[in-house]
Symmetry: C2
Subunit: 397 residues, 2 copies
């Protein structure tokens, strides 16, 4: 935002470097079209065909607690406890999606110029929030096991960053799942620097080989932490429900921030989620079905990519989540690639919005495999590969 867009009003400086979401821009350009979209991170709606939402009792009509409904807080805390986190319902906040958790955490810690550590690449909507609060964003490269603990140590020594944002389980966009060893090492480094960990974990349940190791937050002994989870990937995104679990000292402030943001999250959705999640057996079966469905789609995309992209890009088959992350061998103008693909009714996400520093990264694309039907998946990747080949002069080599 600047004087050009709003000549009359005096707006806050925080809008200067605040960018919209590229994914949502592409989404709005591709709506109501017969398009094959690998661009977003939308769940497969065919999984809900039989799902009828429970009715909402009149008890849910009145204003409710800012913390969220206790039965749902308990379910989210129990779930996190089961994979090793020191979680309690009393320190669990129901949020409007995990996106709201990012907003609350940013309000809690970030002032103009506050150094915040992120992964390269990282979740673009988190970058958006940190930029909005004028953080000085520092990023560390991801290798196959996560960020490097020794490098993290040096970075925190230099920057004194009070906040590290990590997405260690089947990361969006890279698909990376931090190893157990790396998680322990990183926790130790964060503890030593008293850096708050903001751990974003929406994809944990979408594992296709083995479960993700326990959250990094579960290994912390000293420093405060915030752990974000969501029902968007494994239940219903439209409910806009997530949970924020945190160490004790942060909870009172986060609760007040939640109250100031929206008083409380929508109660009908909380009653619906509680009803749907309260039968543990049924829920486990539902997630098993989801995993198997997405695993097949992932495997299909792996084989189409082997056919079309082998000479064009490198990638690692993701062991969970919703995305393939391709690093192109030749540098091409991806905005041009995208324009051409959109003309041919195919959408994907260019990699650059996932990096904090715009020019200092390889040429990558993110492909979502959860939404597109199996029938269209093969056609879609073929279109993208052909456009890239024509651009990079592949055929002339």
């Amino acid at each position: 935002m600047n004087s050009l867009e709003c000549p009359k009003a005096s707006l806050a400086r925080r809008l200067n470097n605040f960018s919209g979401s590229v994914a949502r821009d592409i989404l709005s350009r591709t709506q109501n079209k017969e398009i094959i979209s690998f661009a977003g991170g939308l769940p497969d709606a065919s999984l809900w065909e039989d799902l009828v939402l429970p009715t909402v009792p009149p008890a849910a009509y009145q204003y409710g607690p800012s913390e969220g409904e206790m039965p749902l807080r308990q379910i989210m805390a129990d779930r996190a406890s089961a994979f090793g986190l020191d979680a309690e319902a009393s320190r669990t906040l129901i949020t409007s999606g995990s996106q709201q958790g990012l907003d609350l955490a940013a309000k809690l810690v970030i002032e103009p110029g506050t150094p915040v550590l992120v992964e390269a690449p990282t979740y673009l909507a988190a970058l958006q929030v940190f930029q909005l609060f004028e953080a000085d964003i520092q990023s560390l490269p991801l290798d196959t096991e996560g960020i490097d603990a020794a490098v993290l140590d040096r970075y925190l020594e230099q920057t004194k960053a009070p906040l590290a944002y990590l997405n260690p389980s089947f990361q969006n966009p890279s698909g990376c799942c931090y190893s157990l060893e790396r998680r322990r090492e990183i926790a130790e480094v964060l503890d030593r620097h008293a850096t708050i960990l903001l751990e974003d974990d929406p994809y944990r349940d979408l594992s296709y080989e083995s479960d993700a190791p326990p959250p990094i937050a579960s290994f912390l002994k000293n420093t405060p932490w915030i752990y974000l989870s969501s029902v968007s990937k494994t239940l219903i995104p439209g409910l806009r429900l997530g949970s924020l679990i945190c160490s004790e000292e942060l909870f009172p402030s986060l609760l007040k921030l939640k109250q100031a943001a929206d008083l409380h999250s929508n109660r009908p959705a909380q009653f619906i989620a509680t009803e749907l999640l309260s039968d543990a057996q049924k829920n486990a079966e539902r997630i098993e079905k989801l995993r198997s469905h997405y695993q097949q789609k992932r495997d299909l995309m792996e084989s189409t990519l082997r056919a079309d992209f082998k000479s064009l890009a490198d990638w690692k088959k993701p062991s969970g989540g919703m995305f393939f992350w391709l690093t192109l061998k030749d540098r091409v103008d991806l905005s041009e690639t995208l324009e051409e693909c959109l003309k041919q009714n195919v959408a994907f996400m260019p990699g650059s919005p996932f990096f904090a520093h715009k020019n200092d990264h390889p040429c990558c694309i993110r492909l979502n495999f959860s939404l597109v039907s199996r029938e269209k998946l093969e056609n879609g990747t073929r279109v993208i590969s052909r456009v890239i080949k024509s651009q990079s002069g592949y055929y002339s080599k």
Copy 2:
């Protein structure tokens, strides 16, 4: 928040002067008790006894647009157009309650030290948000017709405040409804200073004598404006739905801010609200019933206050909204009054949280009349009056 509450973490300065909501503190202390509460601003749940929520179609399960569902945006824009606002669905954003509208507006304009003009008294949750964003809050006294336009003019001349927050129709807490003349004068002053108007209008439909004049925003010719509305007071608060309508230049930034805050509001609630509000005739009947119900409660409170408070306080019978605002004739320690009343199972809101500047205001209390049953209303006000009388030494005079 400070180093005492969180010794290990480095938190943002914005938390230093950020207070929780007194109303919500009292609410949490009075939950699960047989208490007569005049403290909050909760609608009367007996009005929903026959209300069954419509079922939600699977179309609402997927991620949705940040702007909100178009049919609901259209309904909210049409409603605002009907009472004179220059409203269009394309400039209407569905928010998570009007509280989220306050958060988005604050992010748009307020930096540390930004002067923001408010009424004295004003809505306490707005003060909370403005304090969070470290505004330099300036307040102007309310008379029976609103704030004084000439005084506003001088204030804006001095402070150059880029934002004025006004709640001109049946204000919370004072019940004040700005006259038509005053609205026109204020709009002219705001236009002259290019001060953005943030107009909060959740009580408009709860009028008991005559309709409120058109919004102040409808008289603006030059300066940008944001107009907040809500379905909490006239439909179902638990849905957490509000709308933000604004002048054209502000919409792109507010949309991006919404996206960063929570991606979008919950869709099942938006489908439910659309279904419930789309029959204009039925909706008008429902609001008529609501008005008549609350009017009777207001009149009952007026007569009990005449009996119990005539010697203790001055007030103006509110012509809309949910509150009586009493200015006590003697100064008493209201925290002591509240403690004693809570022991006798009666709650009310002390007036001080509704003032930006803590010591520079009369001794007031806010009494909600929408929630308490008619049977208990009389007993409740009697308890409060007795406690005040015993404190202020009334009997000994």
